[in-house]
């Protein structure tokens, strides 16, 4: 795996709280990195990845704070990072806010679109809530009568 892809995966774990294993399991990680490159360009993507790599090795609250100040609260990178979170959770790239386009220039590929049919199916939001994407990965007859199995957040919960 290239360093670039490694950094993208690390950033994605940080932003989504799903493990590398979960993210690679979607089969979409490469496609999502390519989506970033295509929509906002390689330069901004690299800036985002560099900001992630440069994060202090802190844990817990300090780490969250660093992500907020240097990535999510960064004027250039914040909206891009939020679009990446939404992409992982739903399979849809959501067009960047107007204010971002006005400041940094609009990009021709920046429209709201579903990356591919399987991107919808692999959206993490369904997994987060112990459900399944509407219309796919059916859990089986009568499964709905039982309480949901909401996956725990092991490493993070144990630290709290």
């Amino acid at each position: 795996m290239s360093n670039r892809f490694e950094a993208f995966l690390g950033l994605s774990v940080e932003l989504t709280a799903f493990s590398r294993f979960d993210l690679l399991g979607t089969g979409l990680a490469e496609r999502y990195l390519a989506t970033l490159d295509k929509v906002v360009g390689v330069e901004i993507t690299d800036t985002l990845l560099a900001a992630f790599v440069a994060l202090p090795p802190a844990e817990g609250e300090a780490r969250i704070k660093a992500v907020r100040t240097t990535i999510l609260g960064n004027e250039l990178l914040g909206d891009v990072a939020r679009a990446l979170i939404k992409l992982w959770y739903s399979g849809t790239w959501f067009e960047l806010p107007l204010a971002w386009m006005e400041r940094f220039g609009s990009r021709p590929a920046d429209t709201t679109f579903v990356v591919s049919p399987d991107a919808y199916v692999e959206g993490l939001l369904w997994k987060a809530i112990g459900a399944h994407p509407a219309g796919a990965k059916a859990p089986g007859f009568g499964s709905w009568a039982f309480p949901p199995k909401i996956p725990a957040l092991p490493e993070l919960d144990s630290k709290a």
């Binding site: 907020r68 979170i85 809530i129 459900a131 399944h132 059916a138 949901p148």
Partner: protein, 623 residues
């Protein structure tokens, strides 16, 4: 279930036009048309079925294309699996807007002439709206057939419950209804002797059970009567576990996916939570299953009894001035949904059946200048009015799992209060606030963009926000009113030059009284559950209706009815109790349009039952 291969070969327009007289010409391949086609074919009649939409989804590959279109759609609105086709357009909700007084909006397929703007819809494709429906299949109540005599509201049917009961059973067999008799015996509903439904009831969702825990044993008072509250299962046209006691112990064989090749799926619902807009495995009934049986009749007799001509839009009815009979039908046949190029053919038959849905059947009649002696074609348009109420339960309920809806609160479907206000049936949506707010995507956007959550906080936030969602959809009774109607006007036409439907509708006061009570009722239920009420109705909402100082966003119900109303004479109705036109003896107008009232039952089981009745009358007429 197998479609005989030759049935999917497109009948070609030239052969159809040149092939003389059919016994029965049917417009529309929805459940209404399908039942009549099957009954006629079983009696050895030669049938031509015309379908305005495309027929590609007749094969599994074509059906699966619809699913891929759905997965890829940015907006998962309720027509998202069905490609745009300007030659056979269908209403699509996202473009609607509120009207100013006296304003008309012709920017969407149905011209909205107000004052109420309806997002009601139907699907123009092979299989009709059953490709899209949710498949709740309650029967109407005895009292629903005589609301005029009992409550002084609406109209009485020319048919009683007793007269339609046997046909309800045929419809339940055809659709393959899953329900338990003991769950359906509320409000005086009875089932004779050893009757059981074809399949056992679908289990209530965990969400339903949590709601039931909070309200069971409590009651409400209305007009001096006490109504106990409880979550009851809905009968459903989705495959469940067959009941071995069905049909005097013969049992029932569920029908899953249909295709030209043998496929083994859809025999049982798997909980895809996607019944609307499209069941991925075809565990939910669609009329292709009935048509497969009709087409199978061909093969046995060695000749094609049922021919399907898709991409064929019935455009004008030609009447013989001497006897009022339908002489022929003008049909526009197009090759490509993306182009308006078409040829016009003339089709002849002994009997004509218009099964194009309540709006399109009325549209076709009106576009042909046929208002009928009573002048009632297009009038008395009905559709259930939906009022949505949404809240967050105190505990995790596992929302977003299960079949779209399994249970509801249905004890206020009947009572003496119907003298004053509409009855309602409430269904609990297993997909949470989806219908009201666009959940769970809208929740994701809010949590990420506005609440600035990421990482573990976001994961926990999604659970907290989505898995506790409860939506109570109140389906309110709407009575017939002649001024609620479909009309046509040559200034509004579609790609093929056919006149489009114009909808004028006012939500009746009777219904709004029920809505106002429904809102109070929802608040009472939420209070008993300790649920946080998140309901709000935006005054700029296209369906916003003000009533007695409050405002409500009313949604269309997709349960269209009344536009060719059934009655006792040619002056008070368009069709007789067999759905035969009073004015044109070889013409049957079938489907929801014939219903004089709709009570609080989703209309399809009832309109399917009526089509069995009409089939017998058609066969009698042909002999």
């Amino acid at each position: 279930m197998l479609f005989p291969l030759e049935s999917t070969l497109k009948a070609d327009a030239k052969t159809v036009a040149g092939s003389g007289e059919y016994d029965v010409v049917i417009v529309g391949s929805g459940i209404s048309g399908a039942i009549i086609a099957k009954q006629a074919a079983e009696a050895g009649k030669r049938v031509l079925m015309l379908e305005a939409g495309t027929g590609a989804n007749i094969t599994l590959a074509g059906y699966d294309d619809l699913l891929t279109t759905f997965y890829s759609a940015v907006s998962k609105d309720n027509q998202s699996p069905f490609p745009v086709n300007a030659n056979a357009a269908m209403p699509r909700s996202p473009k609607l807007r509120k009207l100013q007084a006296g304003e008309t909006d012709s920017s969407t397929y149905i011209v909205q002439s107000g004052p109420y703007v309806s997002d009601t819809t139907y699907t123009r494709i092979f299989g009709g709206t059953t490709m899209h429906w949710e498949a709740k299949t309650p029967r109407m109540l005895r009292s629903d057939f005589k609301t005029r005599s009992i409550f002084g509201q609406g109209l009485d049917w020319p048919l009683s419950f007793e007269e339609i009961e046997d046909d309800y059973r045929l419809a339940e067999r055809e659709i393959g209804v899953s329900a338990n008799v003991e769950d359906q015996q509320y409000l005086g509903q009875t089932f004779p002797g050893d009757y059981v439904f074809p399949m056992r009831g679908l289990p209530l969702s965990y969400l339903d059970q949590q709601v039931n825990k909070g309200i069971e044993g409590t009651s409400v008072e209305l007009c001096g009567k006490t109504y106990p509250l409880k979550v009851r299962p809905y009968p459903q046209g989705r495959n469940s576990i067959p009941n071995p006691a069905y049909d005097g112990g013969k049992g029932y064989r569920p029908i899953g996916a249909v295709d030209t090749h043998q496929v083994e799926e859809g025999g049982r619902c798997q909980g895809n939570t996607n019944c609307v807009p499209l069941c991925p495995v075809q565990a939910r009934y669609h009329s292709g299953k009935t048509l497969a049986k009709a087409f199978a009749k061909n093969a046995k007799a060695g000749e094609r009894l049922v021919e399907l001509l898709a991409q064929a839009v019935a455009s004008k009815v030609d009447i013989d001035p001497d006897n009022g009979k339908v002489r022929s039908l003008e049909v526009k046949v197009y090759k490509d949904p993306a182009s308006a190029a078409h040829e016009t053919i003339t089709v002849k038959g002994k009997v004509f059946v218009f099964a194009a849905g309540a709006i399109e059947t009325a549209r076709l009649m009106l576009a042909s200048g046929l208002r009928s002696t009573s002048g009632l074609v297009g009038r008395n348009l009905m559709d259930h009015a939906y009022l949505l109420n949404w809240a967050l339960m105190p505990q995790i309920c596992g929302t977003m799992r299960g079949t779209s809806s399994t249970g509801g609160i249905v004890d206020l479907r009947d009572g003496p209060f119907r003298e004053r206000q509409a009855a309602f049936a409430i269904d609990i949506h297993n997909d949470g606030w989806g219908w009201a707010t666009g959940a769970p995507t809208s929740d994701l956007l809010e949590l990420v963009d506005d609440r600035n959550l990421h990482g573990a906080d976001l994961r926990r936030g999604m659970v907290d926000r989505v898995s506790r969602q409860l939506l109570l959809a109140f389906m309110l009774e709407v009575m017939p009113d002649e001024s609620n109607r479909i009309t046509v006007d040559p200034q509004y036409t579609d790609a093929l030059g056919n006149m489009r439907p114009i909808l004028s509708f006012t939500v009746p006061e009777y219904t709004m009284k029920g809505a106002a009570y429904g809102r109070r009722f929802a608040r009472t239920v939420f209070a008993r559950l300790g649920a946080q009420d998140h309901t709000h109705y935006d005054p700029s909402d296209f369906g916003y209706v003000a009533y007695e100082g409050q405002g409500y966003a009313i949604r269309g119900g997709n349960h269209l009815a009344g536009t060719h109303i059934m009655g006792t004479t040619r002056t008070n109705s368009v069709v007789d109790k067999n759905q035969r036109s009073w004015d044109h003896e070889n013409l049957y107008l079938v489907g929801g349009g014939s219903m004089p009232t709709i009570g609080t039952a989703n209309v399809t089981l009832t309109l399917a039952a009526m089509c069995f009745r009409s089939s017998r009358d058609i066969l009698k007429y042909l002999h």
